[in-house]
């Protein structure tokens, strides 16, 4: 069953045309990677889905419902959680207050999370509950921002470059976390530059370049096509 479907969306920043007829489709319970180099349009795609930028044309359907044009808070309430690339922790708020901001009522069609469950998933957060967000390390902030989004009990989460700027040990931990979320039944769209990381966790991949979708296939298929990897992903 399709969970999220983008059909030919076009997104602009002012007069700059960023996304050109971008389409993608994610099934319920899938983990899908959106791959591409810096500036390819990954974050803009994410922001277009959550409504932080509004696509000028095209449709965004979630669970069979058109959500394009809704304000971010309504999209969130429909069941999409957004984890921004810059993390955007509330640095003056404590760890638990950060979680409180994300809290939303449980829903029957999504795994439901409590502060206790999240502390099991991210043991560091429990230890640092009274610390301010700004005092956490990069890896801890990344965990907090995911936990904060999970507090909204989403059906699907958008993870914008979860492996960026954190230590290699934490990256592995992050991969295990995503696998755990998949087991819980969560649908995940993650954007990545790191192909290795994407391979660890994703079933399928899309490749975006210059705001245009270039490739779509399973992770296994992508592994067999070094030319594609070379063309769109090599640094």
């Amino acid at each position: 069953m399709t969970m999220l479907e983008l059909a030919n969306i076009n997104t602009y920043y002012g007069s700059a045309h960023i996304l050109h007829d971008v389409s993608l489709e994610i099934g319920s319970g899938e983990v899908v990677a959106l791959l591409g180099r810096n500036g390819a349009g990954k974050s803009t795609t994410m922001k277009s889905i959550i409504g932080l930028v509004r696509p000028a044309s095209g449709s965004v359907r979630f669970s069979g419902r058109e959500i394009g044009g809704m304000p971010p808070y309504e999209i969130c309430r429909n069941g999409i959680g957004y984890v921004p690339e810059e993390r955007r922790i509330f640095s003056d708020l404590t760890v638990f207050e950060n979680l409180e901001v994300g809290r939303r009522p449980a829903r029957s069609d999504a795994p439901s999370w409590t502060v206790e469950r999240l502390c099991e998933l991210f043991p560091n957060l429990a230890e640092r509950r009274a610390n301010r967000g700004g005092q956490l390390s990069g890896g801890e902030q990344q965990m907090l921002t995911i936990a904060r989004t999970l507090m909204g009990n989403p059906k699907m989460i958008l993870l914008d470059e979860p492996s960026e700027g954190i230590a290699p040990v934490i990256v592995e931990q992050m991969a295990r976390t995503i696998q755990e979320l998949k087991r819980e039944g969560l649908t995940v769209l993650l954007s990545e530059q790191n192909l290795h990381f994407a391979k660890l966790v994703s079933d399928r991949a899309f490749i975006i370049e210059s705001g245009t979708m270039r490739y779509s296939g399973t992770m296994a298929e992508l592994s067999d096509q070094p030319d594609i990897r070379e063309k769109y992903l090599a640094m």
């Binding site: 920043y13 002012g14 007069s15 959550i50 409504g51 932080l52 304000p71 971010p72 808070y73 969130c76 309430r77 957004y82 921004p84 955007r88 509330f90 640095s91 003056d92 708020l93 207050e97 950060n98 409180e100 901001v101 994300g102 809290r103 939303r104 904060r148 989004t149 909204g152």
Partner: protein, 617 residues
């Protein structure tokens, strides 16, 4: 010892209302990014509503119920303002919201006059606290102690709200990153309205609680506004505890200042503010402001273009028409249009630093009035002829801008705005309180033009030549490399620095240039009127200029000219009605909501519609 303690308590009691109003302003700014100029008006309304309520509700309970009632009523008014005036324009540049709240001030001023009349109202004494308490042998009014306790209780209640309730946590989160809060499922629109209600409620109870001490009058709104800004800036935008500490600091200093140096009282708090900002540019408890932190900085402005051939013809035609005013306009028209030209120059000079430089100055009247006073003082004390005085007026204003600008360009955004306002108030206070030199409130009279220019028509032509010359010079500067550098610094200070420009120096020099041009306008004004009063340096004067620029439209060079002309003529027209403030206020709000690009923006919009129609036909 007893004396010092008694003074301390008086200061703390005075701080009470200041803290309530400032914390409200701070909370509203933190979440909505709106600097609510009308906050002083909410404070005033609180006092008036409580006055009326106390007439009806008797006794101890009635007194405190009236204060609560005033808070709720003002909260409701704030809510209405947010929903009807601000909601439609949240997407416009932040500064339009300022202008809209200024419109609200005017509307409330006249509505209060309509309902409560022009007389100052004296508040009832608080039942049960009419007497004095002896502390260390000094008599301290019992109600002073009540006010101090009241402020502390409100501080604790706010602390509880913001740290122990979900709503408070959401507000604090939104103060940091409201876009992220909305991506986490919080409806911003409701949050904004709630915060506006709370902030207005605080201003309302602030005005109500001080009623037994200060009464209620129609000047309360502007009188407290400057002090509130000072408190919020010293404490740090968005910080409640900061507002509390700063309100105490300022009020206590003020009380002791009266005893040590009576002449210094008005200047004192602004000096404290300037000192704090130089060392802690974002206030004692504030956080450094990061550009674009609170959502996008908006789309980049369209580049300015040099005038086309047709544009030049229009300018020539306008100047030609102005030259004919004395022929067809009679004496009345001549005097009125001299004012229009002077205000065009004043507004254009503000636009140079605000529109082209991107630095929003709330205190531009400092240089306009500075120029006026430079000329007037020279004539008064040195017998300087008009020609020389007109030359020295911009130099005097430029010199003031050099000193003030040196401090101000270190800051940006709302802190820059507040600091310019503070310095303008310092200058105003000096002029107002240094009666021996400036005549204080009585002003300086008898500053007339030289013999050859004494005829109003001749003087009109002098204004026309110097005024349009000044405006054209400002225009030309925008198209020099110096002007390009200023615009570059506005669009990206970081990138400008990276290619080797000294951004602060460029902004400083532009500030001086704009100040000098405002000084020229002030100099022309003083000889046109023959006198000058401290009102030329007032906050209201700076606001006039801001309104002219915003009404006209920030993003074009013709904007301030259009805005100044419309504003001056409108004011002349409307001031014949009894309730002209009400009309002007409503008009300003309507224009801001209907034409977010200002008058010039609306012109451009119509032109593009028109030319598109031409193409299609």
């Amino acid at each position: 010892m007893g004396f010092i303690v008694a003074q301390l308590l008086t200061g703390m009691a005075n701080a009470s209302a200041l803290f309530l109003v400032a914390s409200g302003l701070s909370i509203i700014f933190g979440v909505t990014r709106v600097v609510n100029f009308a906050h002083g008006s909410f404070y005033m309304l609180g006092a008036f509503v409580a006055y009326s309520a106390m007439q009806v509700l008797p006794g101890f309970i009635g007194f405190w119920a009236s204060i609560l009632l005033a808070g709720l009523a003002v909260g409701l008014i704030g809510l209405i303002v947010e929903v009807c005036v601000l909601k439609p324009i949240y997407k416009s540049p932040e500064l339009y919201q300022l202008v809209a709240t200024f419109g609200v001030i005017l509307v409330i001023q006249d509505l209060a006059l309509l309902v409560w009349g022009p007389e100052d109202l004296i508040g009832k004494r608080a039942p049960g606290f009419e007497g004095v308490v002896m502390i260390l042998g000094e008599r301290v009014p019992a109600y002073d102690l009540v006010l101090i306790a009241f402020a502390v209780i409100v501080l604790c209640a706010l602390w509880y709200l913001f740290n122990r309730t979900r709503a408070g946590v959401l507000v604090r989160a939104a103060t940091q990153d409201r876009e992220m809060v909305s991506a986490l499922g919080v409806n911003q629109s409701i949050l904004f309205t709630a915060v506006f209600f709370l902030g207005s409620f605080l201003a309302g109870i602030g005005g109500a609680a001080q009623l037994p001490k200060g009464g209620a009058d129609l000047l309360m709104d502007f009188n407290i506004l400057a002090a509130v800004f000072v408190v919020v800036v010293i404490g740090g935008m968005g910080s409640i505890i900061g507002a509390f500490v700063a309100a105490m600091l300022i009020s206590i200093l003020q009380v002791f200042g009266v005893h040590l140096l009576p002449q210094s009282t008005l200047v004192l708090m602004f000096v404290v503010m300037a000192v704090v900002l130089v060392f802690r540019p974002w206030g004692l408890f504030g956080r450094e402001e990061q550009a674009g932190e609170h959502g996008g900085a908006g789309p980049p402005q369209e580049p300015l273009r040099e005038l086309s051939g047709r544009g030049r013809l229009v300018v020539a035609a306008v100047i030609g028409a102005l030259a004919l005013v004395p022929v067809f306009g009679g004496q009345f028209g001549t005097v009125l249009f001299a004012d229009v030209i002077i205000f065009c120059l004043f507004a254009a000079s503000l636009h140079y630093i605000l529109g082209i430089g991107g630095l929003v100055s709330f205190g531009h009247a400092a240089f306009y009035g500075g120029g006026a006073y430079t000329a007037a003082l020279l004539v008064q004390y040195a017998g300087t002829p008009m020609e020389l005085a007109l030359l020295l007026a911009p130099l005097g204003a430029g010199f003031a801008a050099m000193i003030i600008g040196w401090f101000c360009v270190r800051l940006s955004g709302v802190y820059f705005a507040m600091l310019t306002l503070a310095f303008a108030q310092v200058l105003w206070s000096i002029v107002f309180q240094w009666t021996d030199l400036t005549g204080g409130d009585d002003g300086i009279l008898g500053v007339w033009p030289s013999q050859w220019a004494s005829d109003p028509v001749v003087y009109y032509y002098l204004v026309l030549v110097l005024g349009t010359g000044g405006v054209l010079l400002l225009r030309a500067m925008a198209h020099t490399p110096f002007g390009y550098a200023l615009r570059g610094a506005r669009d990206s200070a970081l990138r400008s620095e990276a290619i080797g420009m000294n951004v602060q120096f460029i902004q400083w020099m532009s500030f001086v240039f704009a100040g000098a041009m405002a000084g020229l306008a002030g100099g022309l004004f003083v000889f046109a009127k023959g006198s000058v009063f401290p009102t030329e340096l007032e906050i209201a004067k700076s606001f006039d200029a801001l309104i002219m620029v915003f009404l006209g439209g920030v993003q074009s060079l013709s904007g301030p000219i259009a805005g100044a002309s419309v504003f001056t003529l409108l004011q002349d027209l409307l001031s014949r009605f009894e309730y002209w403030r009400l009309c002007l206020g409503l008009l300003i709000i309507a224009i801001v909501i209907l034409f977010p690009g200002g008058i010039a923006g609306a012109g451009n919009w119509m032109r593009s519609r028109f030319s598109r129609a031409e193409v299609s036909s």
